[in-house]
């Protein structure tokens, strides 16, 4: 009985690994072929590469201006995620601890806006910011990510801060601490679990975003990684070998983060969705 059950569970696990293998075949094919020449890829896309050489990677690295795209993506993702988290934590705190009318109005507006698709805002946004001559700078893009990221951030922090007993802050106030200082030295350290959730969701969103940067960043030197990938593919469309190397290189940065943070990422998604 026990042996039977063990065999059955072994078979099931084996089957699941096989399914996973099939599921990940698209990645495997692209990786395999990124080491061949385009000619070899056309002739036999399913065979293993005869030699591992990184020529395609070097060529993609230069031709898609990988470093520039990578640095732009890094700066934009890094700064936007940081400001989204800090400012939404502060606003979440304000909304929980101060029951002013204006606070509940804005909290309601933020909740309601989460159902609003970006597509309804994109045309007037480009129009308004274009008229003011504010397009084509990273600063505008950062500001927009803050505006779009804040509702979910505030909502998430709001739920968590509600559960923190007020007594902790009260004793600080009695000792004469200011609201700002109390927030940073007492409340903020307690918010770590929520940071991780937001960090994960916002990094995945902003790092991979294409539509918003494509509308805001117009000059080549501003391009983020998804934009460079797009330009690279549009201009190299028949030379597949370097293109595949380019795809793999674009995936690698997130893959590295994922390998380190996979537990938190999965936890972050779960908490983000169930909120």
């Amino acid at each position: 009985m026990n042996a039977n059950r063990r065999i059955l569970s072994g078979v099931r696990t084996g089957f699941l690994y096989l399914l996973l293998f099939a599921f990940l075949t698209p990645f495997l094919l692209i990786i395999m072929n990124s080491f061949k020449t385009t000619q070899q890829f056309f002739e036999s896309p399913l065979s293993l590469p005869a030699t591992i050489n990184f020529k395609n990677y070097a060529s993609a690295f230069d031709n898609m201006d990988f470093m520039q795209g990578f640095m732009n993506s890094l700066i934009i993702t890094g700064i936007s995620v940081t400001i989204i988290i800090i400012f939404s934590a502060m606003t979440g705190y304000l909304f929980v601890r101060y029951k002013w009318k204006v606070n509940s109005i804005f909290f309601f507006l933020m909740l309601a806006s989460m159902a609003l698709p970006f597509q309804v805002l994109m045309i007037p946004m480009v129009m308004l910011y274009g008229n003011m001559g504010l397009l084509n700078t990273k600063l505008t893009l950062l500001f927009m990510y803050l505006g779009f990221g804040v509702p979910f951030g505030v909502f998430t922090f709001h739920g968590f801060i509600k559960g923190i007993p007020y007594e902790l802050e009260e004793s600080a106030f009695i000792e004469g601490s200011t609201t700002l200082r109390t927030f940073f030295s007492i409340v903020l350290p307690l918010l770590k679990p929520v940071f991780v959730t937001l960090l994960v969701l916002d990094v995945l969103w902003i790092w991979n975003d294409y539509l918003l940067p494509s509308l805001v960043l117009l000059s080549p030197d501003q391009k983020t990684l998804p934009l460079s990938t797009y330009t690279f593919f549009s201009s190299y469309s028949v030379d597949y070998a370097p293109l595949m190397a380019g795809l793999i290189m674009t995936i690698i940065p997130v893959l590295i983060i994922y390998l380190f943070l996979q537990k938190q990422i999965i936890k972050g998604i779960t908490e983000g969705a169930l909120k």
């Binding site: 036999s44 806006s113 698709p117 597509q119 505030v154 998804p226 795809l247």
Partner: protein, 293 residues
């Protein structure tokens, strides 16, 4: 703490709420209002002329055969994507919550397509559909793959669905796993003592108890697939002959390439209304099936 909002603590409001509320208002609230206004004008981007024209833009939307066709195309695409992604995610999640060995690795693996942005994902599948599958078709004589799927409207439709669902499955799987973990063990044990088979346990216990997870998953897959843009751009570019333009892709083209901002915005509002109605209806209907354990 119920201090009144006064000049003295207006400072607190500005410091704590200022940056977020300012950005939120400038990026969401004002564009939303301007956007609604825009749908009632004939704003011209080159001359800057604009005057109120009432509901003309909306009439234009419903008279535009191409947009209506694309909206219908989008609806079909959303329907199949949502069904396929959810069914696969549900069963993979089910298989990965039995406490077997290596589950953590398997979950990690099935999630990986979500690390990849839509543009990269689209090009990845474009390479497969336009090069690898036709190669197989030629080599083994499989008629299905003889020509690239992306050159024919019907098959390009399925190519889009496969690429989108492939990414969504891992994300939804994680939420389903969370839902299944919430099913109390004693209920499952009681069922197995009573001699319930695996299928009836799924149908009579797991399904009704995971309705909240199902509602969330359908909602997420609905809104994500309705707004698909970059996979569409990278995979088919709307081709062949604009036959695979999803609604969002069409709106971007209309507004930013043909400079019809008013009509484009009216289309965006219509799309938003369609998404909202479908999403609210599905969660209302499913919520009725919810039970307490």
């Amino acid at each position: 703490m119920n201090k009144k909002l006064s000049l003295k603590n207006a400072g607190t409001f500005l410091v704590f709420g200022g940056p977020s509320i300012f950005a939120f208002a400038a990026v969401v609230i004002i564009p939303f209002i301007v956007g609604l206004y825009l749908t009632f004008t004939n704003w011209d981007v080159r001359t800057g002329d604009s005057s109120l024209i009432g509901f003309t833009n909306y009439l234009e939307v419903f008279r535009d055969k191409v947009f209506l066709q694309q909206l219908w195309f989008t609806l079909k695409y959303v329907f199949f994507t949502v069904v396929i992604a959810n069914v696969f995610a549900f069963f993979i999640a089910l298989a990965l919550t039995r406490g077997g060995r290596g589950e953590q690795w398997l979950r990690t693996g099935f999630f990986t397509p979500n690390l990849v942005g839509g543009i990269v994902l689209g090009y990845l599948w474009q390479t497969l559909f336009s090069q690898v599958l036709p190669y197989l078709g030629a080599k083994y004589g499989w008629e299905l793959f003889q020509t690239s799927w992306l050159t024919n409207t019907g098959t390009a439709f399925w190519a889009l669905i496969i690429a989108t669902a492939w990414q969504l499955v891992g994300y939804l799987m994680i939420i389903y796993i969370a839902g299944f973990t919430g099913v109390p063990n004693d209920v499952l044990e009681a069922a197995s003592i009573d001699g319930a088979g695996r299928t009836s346990v799924i149908r009579r216990i797991i399904l009704p108890l995971t309705v909240p997870a199902i509602v969330i998953c359908i909602f997420i897959s609905l809104s994500r697939s309705f707004l698909t843009y970059d996979i569409n751009l990278a995979l088919t570019k709307g081709g062949p002959f604009n036959s695979t333009e999803l609604a969002t892709y069409h709106i971007v083209q209309k507004a930013f390439l043909s400079n019809q901002y008013g009509v484009g915005q009216a289309e965006a509002v219509v799309l938003f209304a369609v998404v909202a109605i479908i999403a609210l209806t599905q969660s209302y209907l499913l919520k009725k099936l919810e039970v307490e354990s």
